[in-house]
Symmetry: C2
Subunit: 501 residues, 2 copies
């Protein structure tokens, strides 16, 4: 350790000297917050840094076996060529520069939305701070959207909190929940594979991560027996209080059945767990027979015994679905049965950061309040929305189909979300070689990046059963490019297997 | 306590029942994160909630001694009627809806900026995620801006981190720095009065807050003897590692002299402290003889003994100065002498939240790269910028002048920033009456709100010397309205003093 006590009896008290006679730095790897050191986030980890490096080399004229890096590591639709929804961007332009409200080129419904948003802003400017919980009329629109989505089950705008993307709201709720020391420390149940925001936030907060494994042999479905196993083991060493669900699944692309959601809610009630439902892919459902059921709706349909007691937060975002507007960092959460005193604490906590970005709030308002059939922008809006969602559905089918023809790759159907998480069989020699420096699927993905210019995230970044290997790939590249990607992965997999056989 | 252990030996193990036979909630005031409970943020605290309540009552037709609530509690320029800079909003509209690039009504320089920003975005869309540290060409522009501001002292874009407002970056740096337990817990020195983001972040992180008092009798100047006193007392019970400075000052409006900044830097080096320089009001300097000196510039002018060793982070934002674009949540920090391993940890940490809002990044790019003399938007830009800053300078003078004519109010010059923090003399009877339910200056401000419709923040929300009372008021209302506000406060102060004499 670089720490030593000086004559004041205090560490770093101005007395410590490096061997060379110079003071060391105040902030070093040894002296920094150890929770931050434990944070990992594979979606933007070493493989992506390598990809950025390769892109720079290509730009500077380096010769590679490929001419561009295809980044299928992150659900970033616009970066993959998806076009923004025209209506959304028209309203955002009007909100940014209200002089355009006089411009006859903009449709009336876009102007009407912009006027309504501006009227709700301080000084009629999206440059003013909003209420910390979010602009009130937008929270009302969100509540109406949820009611419509859930067949009329009421939603209260006071339970809606706008956020800086869904990540912000997820971390905020976890922050309220995590406390205690030692065996009393809060445990949080997350699926494995998981989206690494969860493990990162838990490391940062010093919470105990409780893994429950999804069933790969059954389309990554969630199994209550496994939840019970994980919970009961965790109770030996921590205080489990939270159950996190991602539906549709990230990175695994499964869509939960209504029955399964009921079982989860029953389990949460019996075991006295706070439910966090990450539902940011709610419009991304492709497989026949699959349908999105919100946890809120199922909870309320199970009757007052459940709807009056189970504490829950559900998260949504402008970044996914057909919008793909990641850069705006828009999102919301709805809380159910949250203790009123805790709500006051939540409002206080979010007020410290003043407010979520107002352009993102405006965008969210359009997502929950899109053009209606009698409005001029409706036809274009529906055409654009449908085009994105049908292309995604086609790419989901294509991905499963092609991967399952490749020896050594097995792939569940991409029922929803925007990812596939296929299992790869690695030759023992490759595993042995990899283990000298890297986890085996990181070795595989690094080789794929270097040889084919395709950037994926190794399964180890999301968690997987010991001895199994996967990668996560987005299905976002345009269809023709996706076909090339799939073909290149196929060839790489064959070559890789041969090399290490 | 509501906690009890069930037969599993674990608290909340599903065994606990409320007296009525029902399980308690998972998340209650008793079972939540105690650090969050300790968080306070007066700028949006109870007085603002009351103000919002009164506004609703007025809207619903309630009769009050006033017709509107004037919110002078928060530095929210646009909400107070300040108009956005035309050029900024034109570029933002172009970035939001690039079809406008074909529109001849937009000036060429605005189009050129928009094209450059869009080219740096994934898929040429501000809806794509950016690099977690921020868009590279914007970081380059920030570095050039800093170099120009600091007379050519080099700035490295790798040391620039874009952020979600300055608050985000401040909390991130504090999160890296805070660790240890008991007497080893990190202590952070903050000025009193302070901007309550700091105390809130420290409570949230469980750090030790070390107060150093600004010298009210000398224009709220910072005194090294007082820093020494505070540090030495703190070393008895924690591990002081960080010194935070706000210059120009919030809530106190002082502008630090170059000499004082040198002294602070020397102190930080001697005492082995990490310096955090909150410089978000760097364009807001009004008083004659005052000038903004960046900590970075002074550090480098002190020679390599300092510039190669003192670790520092400086923060800036799009929310203040002449822009006042709070809603976009744009900002950056520059780090100096940060350990390279810690930098890698910092990049990892910010990557978990993916990226700062891209519209805010775009706006920041315009702030650091505004129209140049040979460009078509220059004249309008300069006119608008100058109008805002001269009006603020006039309002700063006006505020000091009028307040100092009121018996029982004494007010330092508003040298910079956008606040005044006058001292109020409260009659003992008022103090006694207040103490039955509220801290005395909260009592004063609540009465002012109820009687005059003016929303200020009590000094207790920022910290003040025991037995002194203050409030913070922004100087942002338009000049004519500000005069009314000052007049109303004057009348209230006289009435209040009379009532309790």
């Amino acid at each position: 350790s670089a720490r030593r006590r000086g004559s004041t009896g205090r560490p770093w008290g101005g007395e410590y000297k490096h061997p060379g006679g110079l003071k060391g730095k105040v902030l070093t790897l040894d002296s920094m917050n150890p929770n931050v050191k434990r944070v990992e986030y594979a979606v933007r980890g070493p493989i992506v840094q390598r990809a950025v490096q390769i892109e720079k080399e290509l730009k500077e004229g380096a010769k590679k076996p490929f001419t561009e890096v295809i980044k299928a590591n992150i659900g970033d639709a616009h970066a993959m060529g998806q076009k923004p929804i025209t209506f959304f961007r028209q309203v955002l332009a009007l909100c940014s520069y209200p002089a355009l409200l006089e411009d006859s080129k903009f449709p009336e419904d876009a102007k009407q939305r912009a006027r309504r948003i501006l009227e709700a802003c301080g000084g009629h400017s999206i440059g003013a701070y909003s209420a910390s919980q979010g602009i009130e009329c937008i929270r009302q629109d969100v509540a109406r959207y949820i009611e419509k989505r859930d067949g009329g089950i009421p939603s209260n705008p006071d339970n809606i909190y706008l956020s800086t993307g869904a990540s912000d709201a997820i971390v905020t709720i976890l922050k309220l929940l995590v406390c205690g020391e030692g065996r009393d420390r809060t445990g949080v149940m997350i699926s494995i594979p998981q989206y690494p925001l969860y493990s990162a936030a838990l490391a940062d907060l010093g919470a105990v991560q409780i893994n429950y494994y999804l069933d790969e042999d059954n389309c990554w479905s969630l199994n209550i027996t496994e939840l019970r196993r994980a919970l009961s083991a965790a109770r030996e060493h921590c205080n489990p209080r939270v159950l996190c669900i991602i539906n549709p699944g990230n990175p695994t692309g499964q869509v939960q059945s209504r029955q399964c959601i009921e079982d989860v809610i029953r389990f949460a009630k019996e075991e006295h767990l706070f439910l966090m439902a990450d539902e940011v892919y709610q419009d991304n459902v492709y497989a026949e027979g699959c349908q999105f059921h919100s946890f809120k709706k199922v909870l309320f349909e199970m009757g007052p015994e459940y709807s009056n007691t189970v504490e829950m937060a559900s998260f949504h975002s402008t970044s996914k679905c057909y919008m793909g507007e990641c850069g705006f960092r828009g999102g919301y959460m709805e809380v159910i049965n949250l203790d009123p005193e805790v709500k006051a604490q939540l409002i206080k906590l979010v007020s410290v950061r003043l407010c979520p970005p107002v352009p993102g709030q405006a965008l969210l308002d359009l997502v929950v309040n899109p053009p209606q059939p009698d409005e001029p922008s409706y036809a274009t809006f529906m055409k654009e929305r449908t085009a994105v969602l049908s292309a995604l559905a086609e790419k989901a089918r294509l991905t499963e189909q092609i991967f399952n023809t490749v020896p050594g790759i097995t792939c569940n159907p991409v029922q929803g979300a925007m990812y596939t998480f296929p299992r790869i069989t690695l030759p023992q020699k490759a595993i042995d070689k990899a283990k000298l420096g890297l986890v085996p699927d990181m070795f595989y993905c690094m080789r794929l990046l270097d040889e084919e210019g395709i950037c994926l995230v190794p399964g180890s970044g999301f968690g997987q059963r010991e001895g199994t290997y996967h990668f996560r790939m987005t299905i976002l590249p345009p269809t023709e490019k996706l076909k090339v990607v799939l073909q290149k992965i196929r060839e790489f997999q064959l070559r890789f297997t041969q090399e290490f056989s």
